[in-house]
């Protein structure tokens, strides 16, 4: 079971969180004209990375905040966690 540091609450067990997928995906702006390809990339197309991955988790049974977690998908090592509004360099 992973141990995830919620930036708001501290270290918590994985079973308090739910997984939310790739955090690097940006939703296209509302009312913006975009191609089918661009839309499909947003809705469907994801990379199945091996290695460092920035992903979303929600601290569901805690503060209910969506957070960003930088995790290695192969080893499960967590390098860092960020608030939803934190810019990641």
């Amino acid at each position: 079971m992973l141990h995830i540091k919620c930036p708001h609450c501290g270290m918590r067990s994985q079973n308090e969180f739910s997984y939310g997928g790739d955090a690097s995906i940006k939703r296209p702006k509302l009312n913006k004209e975009i191609s089918n390809e661009e839309w499909d990339n947003f809705v469907y197309n994801r990379k199945s990375l091996r290695g460092k991955h920035l992903e979303l988790w929600q601290h569901l049974s805690g503060c209910r905040q969506w957070i960003k977690v930088e995790r290695d998908t192969a080893t499960h090592e967590i390098f860092n966690t960020y608030r939803a509004d934190e810019e990641i360099s």
Partner: protein, 998 residues
């Protein structure tokens, strides 16, 4: 019964407490502190089971967790449990156990015929033989194998025992209480670290209990006892025996199984049988020791052939001798320790040492004691069927290839020692890439992967002094990092005998003309010849060899067999062992009972149960409940001898003719506040929300980004910046997360707060032509007329002194209202509605009537919004705004969603107006068409229409828009039904929606 193999003195058992037990129906006695194995051996019982494949007689091979043979069926307190190791099961008064894998009895086992037909059972036998002819598998092979084989029978009764889960955090978790575990725990504890020390056996001390060493002028055992007593007194230390750490998971989470009551005749009141510990440790010290390796020779599976360390443990811990005429067969000094213990107790062993001329302190001691030693000697084969009666031995040439003349010597047991295999399972599970250590021909942990440190024998270090030094240091350093304390501990003086180099030789060649089975895996009956066949047949990867031969795949997971298997493969393949590599170690290290894994989450505790505030009223009024997610909802209220169908029909009819009341507390409710609340709704729902006036409700549909309908419900504008959203019962949690996702991540600029209020409000739907009359009586001070409270109107009121919210919304298609009060007043509200409604013939209705009402009016619910349908399919496309963007809108113009023959919701009526249509049935054009018959759609929901008094169903049908009036067939192969039907509008009741507005 006399315990003929029990010594007069010695051992750690309690000789004052005699215990009586039964094995295979026969009564024996042992002592408190015995295991079932030690007590049986004390009574001279060595035949305990039959092997898995050949049904060869099985005795005891080890004295603990590594035991491959002595697996029994245990009977305890009117319960039975399979797969119990006799070497681990502690004896208690009245214990009963039986042999497994033998039929009809352990002495006469019909499956043993396999042994004499073993030509038919080579490697891969199961794959090769039982595959053909196919029908034979079900009729002949499987029933026979099931009857004759198997390692015990699981009980089919409900397990009344309690199992608990516990979560714990610590600075250092130490797995094993041998010298390294004790030393590191002691050093860390003295530094103030929070320590958990886990020992799988009942006694602490590990190898110190059986080895002849001296630490700080105390015997090993006394030193262990003094350290343990001191640790037990420290508030920062948890010391646990009977506790096996069996899994090392991610982020230093380890799981330990504690056998709280298995050693007692009966679990004490308020105690669990077992406890599963989830331990999050900052540092993990693996001090799990090592397991002695067998030597391989002919018939080396005969009862009486045993690990030499086990024989020593039986002697020193239990005061039991495994034989009176022992032969010790060894390639290293460990065998000598066992021989010396025998000799000290008046028994004359013979040592066969594979080495040419070894010299060490311990060998000198054996010589001085007058023990007969034969160097360059091997056991070629054990003789005897149910117990060793003699051994064929021979001198072996220096190159270990040639056997000399075979001699036969009498003996009643053969204690084997093929050196030691470090127990690296936990380290390997942590992700540690193990490395091969040439000097000991075994794998040891490599670079730490998580925060694990492996110490002592588990790390391939076999001298006590080095082990203790390393372990004190590790305990001190690791705890210092955490606590910043630095208490130096003086290192005790250690006295131990020095060992000489061990012999890498481990597998005795077959003598000319003999075809003895030489076993590698004792539980799964994998012999040297099986590995040879597998390699000949082209299996190369060790993982494939394992699966093909079942080497190391039994319940002992090859604790004694893995390395010998690897060595054999490497020898035949002419590769070094590390090039062959070992198979993956996976948790659990030992079998764990299902009960322990499940814990308390059984029966009604398997999930939370949520009840509405009106639950007790429903109970008192004969409600029959149904699970709705975690909620319990009344399905119908039983009157007299009514069944579900009759009751729900009565309830639904009463709504259509009079008035009914339904508990709708379970609907998800989300409170939305903030200046941008309307904007949020406008982006979440497909229809327009910016112009909804205060005091009005609106129905909305929300989509996922892929265009699929996610949920529907009404949202009411309570005040300028305050909205009350409702969701379906099933989607309540998902919708909240969905809103939070967009507010926190996508549109953080929106100034809105969302919070679930599902449990804050009790809800009652009041529906039917007489509902307004009832409302007038409930709220005499309010104008609830069609003008005062129009359809989709909202007002706040007062229900006999209780704050109430009234929504004029309808799920049933009738004139209807929903009243909400704070949860604590729910029961009060409900009783008032029933009381005031008497004159209007009010009746409560359950979910079944609720479904009937919504189905016949064509209102979609979960069975239509099934994660595959879009707004068009469910005739909700009228709610799609063309003027604004919203979640999922861009998906709606993709080709599949705009095709002209897109599926759509329709109504379905059987032509005979009698036959009920099973939900999930398929709609087809031609009932007689050859298979696969093209499916045009499926039945999503069925009911008995109370309006028309005939069956009615909803269906999602291809090109449903143009199918109204068509005649099709409903097919349910599951129920073997073919029903001719007509397709009608999904709005079977009041298609113009006049009633809700009346």
């Amino acid at each position: 019964m006399i315990q003929k193999f029990r010594l007069q003195n010695g051992g750690l058992i309690n000789r004052d407490k005699k215990l009586s037990f039964k094995f295979n129906g026969k009564t024996y006695s042992g002592y408190e502190g015995d295991t079932l194995a030690s007590a049986l051996i004390a009574n001279g019982v060595h035949l305990v089971g039959r092997s898995f494949k050949y049904h060869r007689p099985r005795g005891f091979f080890g004295a603990g967790v590594d035991e491959p043979y002595a697996i029994v069926q245990l009977y305890r307190n009117n319960e039975t449990e399979p797969n119990i190791k006799a070497t681990e099961q502690e004896l208690f008064e009245g214990l009963e156990a039986k042999s497994v894998n033998c039929w009809p009895s352990v002495n006469f086992d019909i499956g043993a015929i396999n042994n004499f037909l073993k030509i038919f059972l080579p490697a891969g036998f199961y794959y090769k033989t039982f595959m053909w002819p196919k029908s034979f598998w079900y009729r002949v092979y499987e029933p026979f194998i099931r009857k004759a084989a198997g390692l015990g029978v699981a009980s089919t009764k409900h397990d009344k025992e309690r199992y608990e889960h516990k979560y714990e955090y610590c600075d250092l978790l130490i797995t094993g209480s041998g010298p390294s575990g004790l030393a590191s725990a002691y050093a860390a504890a003295k530094n103030g670290a929070r320590v958990i020390l886990a020992e799988d056996k009942p006694r602490f001390g590990g190898s110190l209990l059986t080895s002849d060493v001296n630490i700080g002028n105390q015997s090993g055992e006394d030193w262990a006892n003094s350290i343990i007593s001191e640790l037990k007194e420290m508030p920062n230390v948890i010391v646990k025996n009977r506790s096996q750490v069996f899994g090392y998971y991610d982020h230093n989470m380890l799981v330990m199984s504690e056998k709280v009551s298995d050693h007692l005749p009966k679990t004490k009141k308020h105690h669990p049988k077992q406890r599963l510990w989830y331990i999050r440790a900052k540092e993990v010290l693996i001090s799990s020791g090592s397991i002695e390796r067998p030597l391989v020779f002919g018939n080396n599976d005969t009862p009486g052939v045993m690990l030499s360390s086990a024989a020593k443990e039986y002697l020193k811990v239990y005061g039991v001798i495994v034989g009176k005429n022992p032969l010790v067969f060894t390639n290293n000094d460990s065998g000598y320790e066992t021989a010396i213990e025998f000799k000290k107790n008046g028994i004359n062993p013979i040592i066969l040492d594979t080495r040419v001329n070894p010299q060490s302190e311990i060998i000198d001691e054996a010589i001085n004691l007058g023990i007969e030693i034969k160097f360059s000697y091997v056991v070629v084969a054990a003789q005897g069927y149910k117990k060793v009666s003699s051994a064929d031995i021979a001198k072996i040439s220096d190159d270990k290839k040639q056997l000399g003349t075979i001699e036969n010597i009498k003996c009643d047991c053969i204690c084997v020692s093929g050196f030691w295999t470090p127990t690296i399972h936990l380290a390997s599970q942590s992700g540690n890439k193990t490395k091969f250590k040439e000097e000991i021909d075994a794998f040891v942990p490599g670079t730490s992967k998580q925060n694990e440190t492996t110490l002592g024998a588990a790390n391939g270090i076999f001298t006590l002094e080095e082990t203790l030094k390393d372990s004190f240091m590790a305990g001190q350093d690791l705890s210092k990092k955490i606590t910043n304390n630095d208490n130096k501990i003086s290192f005790p003086n250690v006295v131990e005998k020095k060992s000489s180099q061990y012999d890498k030789f481990w597998c005795v060649p077959l003598p000319k003309g003999k075809n003895y089975k030489r076993f590698l895996d004792f539980q799964n009956d994998v012999a040297v010849s099986d590995i040879e066949i597998a390699l000949k047949e082209g299996y190369r990867s060790i993982e494939h060899v394992k699966r093909y031969t079942t080497l190391g795949m039994a319940t002992d997971q090859g604790k004694t067999s893995n390395l010998n298997g690897l060595q054999l493969v490497s020898e035949i393949e002419n590769k070094v062992v590390p090039a062959v590599g070992h198979t993956t170690f996976r948790p659990p290290y030992t079998p764990i009972s299902i009960g322990a894994i499940v814990g308390r989450e059984v029966g009604k505790h398997s999930k939370p149960t949520r009840k509405s505030p009106m639950h007790s009223w429903h109970e008192k009024n004969n409600a029959v409940f149904v699970d709705a997610g975690v909620w319990l909802r009344p399905r119908y209220y039983k009157q007299g001898s009514e069944n579900l169908f009759e009751a729900s029909k009565r309830e639904a009819k009463n709504v259509r003719t009079n008035v009914g009341v339904c508990d709708v507390t379970t609907l998800g409710k989300i409170d939305i506040k903030g200046p941008d609340a309307a904007e949020l709704l406008n982006r979440v729902y497909t229809n327009a929300w910016l112009k909804l006036p205060v005091g009005k409700a609106r129905y909305g549909v929300m989509l996922r980004e892929d265009g699929i309908v996610m949920d529907d419900g009404t949202t009411t504008r309570i005040s300028e910046n305050h909205y009350h959203m409702t969701t379906t019962t099933a989607q309540a949690a998902n919708v909240l997360s969905h809103l939070e996702y967009y507010l926190q991540l996508v549109w953080p600029e929106l100034n809105v707060n969302v919070v679930s209020t599902t449990e804050q409000w009790a809800g009652a739907a009041i529906a039917g032509p007489k509902s307004r009359k009832l409302l007038e009586k409930l709220f005499p001070n309010n104008d609830v007329s069609n003008e005062g409270l129009p359809f989709m109107g909202y007002m706040e009121s007062d229900l006999f002194g209780v704050k109430a919210r009234i929504f004029r919304i309808s799920f049933s298609g009738e004139l209807a209202y929903e009243v909400n009060v704070e949860s604590d007043n729910g029961q009060f509200m409900w009783e008032k509605i029933i009381e005031m409604g008497q004159e209007f013939q009010v009746q409560p209705y359950g979910t079944e009537a609720l479904s009937t009402l919504r189905i016949e009016m064509g209102h979609v619910a979960g069975s239509e919004l099934d994660g595959r349908t879009i707004s068009y399919d469910t005739s909700l496309e009228g709610l799609i705004s063309k003027k604004k963007d919203f979640i999922g809108k861009r998906s709606l113009n993709r080709e599949a969603f705009t095709s002209s023959d897109r599926q759509k919701i329709v109504g379905v009526v059987p032509l005979d107006k009698k036959t009920s249509i099973p939900e999930g049935s398929h709609l087809v054009k031609d009932a007689k068409a050859p298979l696969p018959n093209k499916k045009l759609g499926h039945i999503s929901a069925s009911c008995w229409s109370v309006e028309h008094d005939n069956p009615f169903s909803l269906a999602i049908l291809k090109d449903g828009k143009n199918m109204i009036g068509e005649k099709l067939f409903v097919m349910s192969p599951l129920k073997n039904k073919v029903i001719p039907v007509e397709i009608v509008s999904s709005h079977y009741v009041d298609p113009k929606g006049e009633r809700v507005r009346s």
